[in-house]
Symmetry: C2
Subunit: 200 residues, 2 copies
């Protein structure tokens, strides 16, 4: 018996099914939504995907994703250059920006120490962080890693590494649910954790 759907629709459902957080039924729903949507809306999504892959690069200073390097945050003269907030991933920068509690700079490590996944300190952007601390203009480093095992291990490692350099090292206040992802914290919780940060 012939299938009800031929190539293009099933291809689209399959492509959406591979995205995080989208199951087969959700992918089907999205595919039929796009089939019925105006051409401009569907093409806009396709173009947005292509553009992000062609335009987005990594900031040479902080490691965040951006279209210009250095990124807008690193280039902004109104940001406080004396404070660096260290995060695991670019998406964490966005989470902290949304709290509007932080006016300093960022440093994206590109992950956290995780022996099970063979990620050690050498696989993270730690040398680049040390380089940024070299001229003494940075007075505080805020460690804003995910409150889980890997984030804790990375926080302890960085606190030991940075301690002897004479820079103030702080970490986000606890209050974030343990075992969770920083990415999913609501703005208020994350903002309070940031303003109540403590010596690491």
């Amino acid at each position: 018996m012939a299938l009800a759907y031929d190539g293009a629709i099933q291809n689209l459902i399959d492509a959406f099914s591979r995205l995080p957080g989208i199951g087969p039924k959700g992918a089907q729903r999205i595919a039929f939504y796009l089939l019925g949507a105006p051409d401009a809306e569907a093409q806009g999504l396709a173009d947005a995907i292509s553009e992000v892959k062609s335009k987005v690069r990594f900031c040479e200073i902080c490691g965040n994703v951006c279209e210009t390097s250095p990124c807008p945050v690193c280039q902004d003269p109104r940001r406080d250059r004396g404070v660096i907030c260290v995060v695991e991933e670019p998406k964490d920068v966005m989470s902290i920006e949304r709290t509007r509690e932080f006016r300093g700079l960022y440093h994206v490590l590109g992950g956290a120490i995780n022996p099970m996944a063979n990620v050690g300190p050498a696989d993270l952007r730690i040398p680049q962080l040390l380089e940024r601390l070299g001229d003494g203009s940075v007075t505080e480093v805020i460690l804003a890693l995910d409150p889980n095992i890997e984030g804790e291990a990375t926080t302890r490692y960085l606190a030991q590494l940075l301690g002897p350099l004479g820079v103030k090292v702080t970490r986000l206040a606890s209050g974030l649910p343990v075992g969770s992802d920083l990415e999913y914290a609501d703005e208020i919780t994350l903002g309070r954790a940031l303003s109540g940060r403590q010596a690491a």
Copy 2:
């Protein structure tokens, strides 16, 4: 203060946020997933969206979506041309095909009667259904509309309209949770509802 993200990434997050079932956090998660995915995977998704819009059309007979008109089901000589299953949307065809309980043809109405949304019988593919019944070759019409208020109204309307034509008119057996979407029924429930169909 400069935003953490400039155009391309925010555009992509916004585009995904507009899709059904995807919230702002889910859209952000997908955008960063695509940023880190191989170029071929991201471009594959973009191409699948473009292709579905350029290739997919509506079958001139049943109204289902397809790449060739008539669609593969309408063209398949092994399908039983004496039975037509009437559904609201193309996605419902896929749901019924998955049960593997049905070997007849389909007719997609393009919606259901809904006075609140100004959708009346004239807005649905009802004349085309009557035309298909004109030569007497169809002996049964199965009404497989969503088990909600609009689907019930459409079922009653069609049962009255088709009754005088001498064709057997049936409807899906109850057993589907009332108020739900046919799209989300599991295969077994939907298959049983189909095999236990009753006179409308």
